[in-house]
């Protein structure tokens, strides 16, 4: 019997992004544990009665069947496994999720263990859904992702001399990728003093379990310092601008100005 039988793969996937294709189709970008990042066409996904549309929305863990196409794979079936619903009704959580999805999308390149990143993203989104603090979920995700792709900041040893650095005597170099001992700080142009409490929290994030990290008391000022530091580190080390990071601040600002009593106000009317 002649003729090519299309190869069909059934896999779990987390949808990272989508873009329009023609009048009614969508190209869906997903992370899968085995195939890594996959772009596939969801035919008719823009039609109101589409059987696929809701199952291939960004921020959805879904089981998809992918038929091998000439240029792009085609999604033939999809079934939602986890829609991370609590995230979708909370602006702060949603802005965090946008950031996690974009980081995954931008950093998921060849030769990276996609299975590990898939598990990391799923567990982080689950933690966010379960009401764990956004700042801890984000920092742990960033740290773990940077570790997997091999650009984790060095927090224990001086990046110039390789010697242990005491938290009280730590300087920080974005370009060199970690802590610098005060005595070596003149050897790198961007070394700057680092508050010891910042380095202590970062070390805790690197070495403690998530449950232990959640018990750390962090005031808003320290939280902002950690956030800005990680945003800048990721940008300098990867040479990528993560666009969704600014929306996290904008969401925080509008939530603070509206007060917490408005939670879910759009649904309640």
């Amino acid at each position: 019997m002649s003729g090519r039988i299309p190869r069909v793969i059934k896999t779990k996937a987390i949808v990272l992004a989508h873009r329009r294709l023609g009048d009614a189709d969508r190209i869906v970008t997903m992370i899968t544990p085995q195939q890594g990042k996959v772009d596939a066409v969801a035919k008719g996904a823009l039609k109101p009665k589409s059987k696929l549309a809701g199952h291939v929305e960004p921020l959805t863990l879904t089981e998809v069947s992918l038929a091998h196409g000439r240029t792009l794979d085609i999604i033939t079936q999809a079934q939602t496994q986890n829609a991370y619903l609590p995230i979708k009704s909370d602006l702060q959580k949603m802005s965090t999720a946008f950031y996690l999805l974009e980081l995954t999308n931008r950093f998921l390149i060849e030769d990276v263990d996609a299975g590990q990143i898939f598990e990391l993203l799923d567990s982080s989104l689950t933690r966010l859904s379960d009401g764990k603090k956004s700042q801890f979920v984000t920092r742990v995700f960033e740290f773990s992702l940077l570790r997997v792709i091999g650009i984790k900041p060095e927090l224990m040893k001086c990046v110039i001399t390789g010697k242990d650095v005491d938290a009280e005597k730590a300087y920080w170099s974005m370009v060199q990728g970690g802590v610098v001992h005060v005595d070596s700080s003149v050897k790198t142009f961007d070394a700057r003093p680092l508050e010891s409490r910042v380095i202590r929290v970062l070390r805790a994030i690197e070495f403690l379990s998530f449950e232990e990290i959640c018990r750390i008391k962090i005031d808003p000022q320290l939280s902002m310092m950690l956030e800005n530091m990680m945003f800048e580190f990721i940008q300098v080390q990867s040479e990528l601008v993560i666009k969704s990071s600014s929306f996290m601040g904008e969401a925080r600002r509008v939530i603070a100005s509206s007060g917490t009593e408005l939670n879910n106000s759009s649904r309640d009317g």
Binding site: A17, G22, D23, P48, K49, K51, A53, G54, H55, E57, P58, L59, T60, T80, A83, L85, K88, S89, D90, L91, M94, S95, F98, Y99, L101, E102, N105, K243, S244, S246, F247, E250, A251, V254, I255, S257, S258, G259, L262, S265, S266, R267, G269
Partner: protein
């Protein structure tokens, strides 16, 4: 030959094909077909096409109030005395206004955002007509009772909807969004969890 000279030296038909190719949804083959159609058509038809393209660019502007595309400023909807001036329906694109107008059941005003919050594409609230909406509500002579957020029911649409609710909530306005649920003629078996959850959440009595 530099790039500018090369562009100027190419034939008019190539220029036309490239112009069509830049339109959304038009690939190189379709662009060629359209260009050759224009070439074969009577000169009058080509002239009408060229005139209508220029006319639409010259005469269509954004309404100062609703930001919809219009040839009159303020637009016909914003000046229609039969409309309910206390209700504003916020939509993503001008085409959404046409879709809602086709229903014939909405008699309020509109506000077109010209996009949706899409953080991963770098589109934030300041890139949309949100500041204009806020100013319009604050400056309105008639007190606005309700803002209906009619963004698309997807992640970006929901983010925009929640952002607007947070932003406009302190003004004491009732912020609602369109109901979520199963489309007419759909099959329950194929519905996703989000749609089913929303359908259950917003269920209605069969008989009032």
């Amino acid at each position: 030959m530099n790039q500018y000279e090369r562009r100027n030296s190419q034939s008019p038909i190539t220029t036309l094909v490239e112009a069509f190719n830049r339109l959304p949804g038009i690939g190189p083959k379709s662009a060629q077909r359209l260009a050759y159609h224009v070439l074969r058509a009577p000169e009058k038809e080509a002239q009408e096409l060229a005139n209508s393209l220029l006319e639409v660019k010259r005469s269509i502007t954004l309404c100062d109030f609703c930001q919809n595309l219009t040839d009159l400023n303020p637009c016909r909807i914003c000046t229609d005395s039969k409309r309910d001036f206390k209700t504003i329906c916020v939509v993503e694109e001008p085409l959404d206004v046409q879709a809602l107008e086709r229903t014939g059941s909405y008699m309020g005003l509109y506000h077109v955002l010209h996009g949706v919050i899409a953080p991963s594409d770098g589109i934030g609230p300041s890139d949309l007509k949100i500041a204009e909406l806020l100013k319009r509500i604050r400056d309105s002579e008639v007190e606005i009772d309700e803002v209906i957020v009619a963004t698309n029911p997807n992640l970006e649409g929901d983010a925009t909807s929640m952002y607007l609710a947070r932003l406009l909530g302190p003004l004491g306005i009732n912020i609602t969004h369109l109901a979520r649920g199963l489309p007419a003629g759909a099959d329950l078996e194929y519905a996703d969890d989000v749609t089913l959850n929303r359908a259950l959440e917003f269920r209605q009595k069969v008989l009032d």
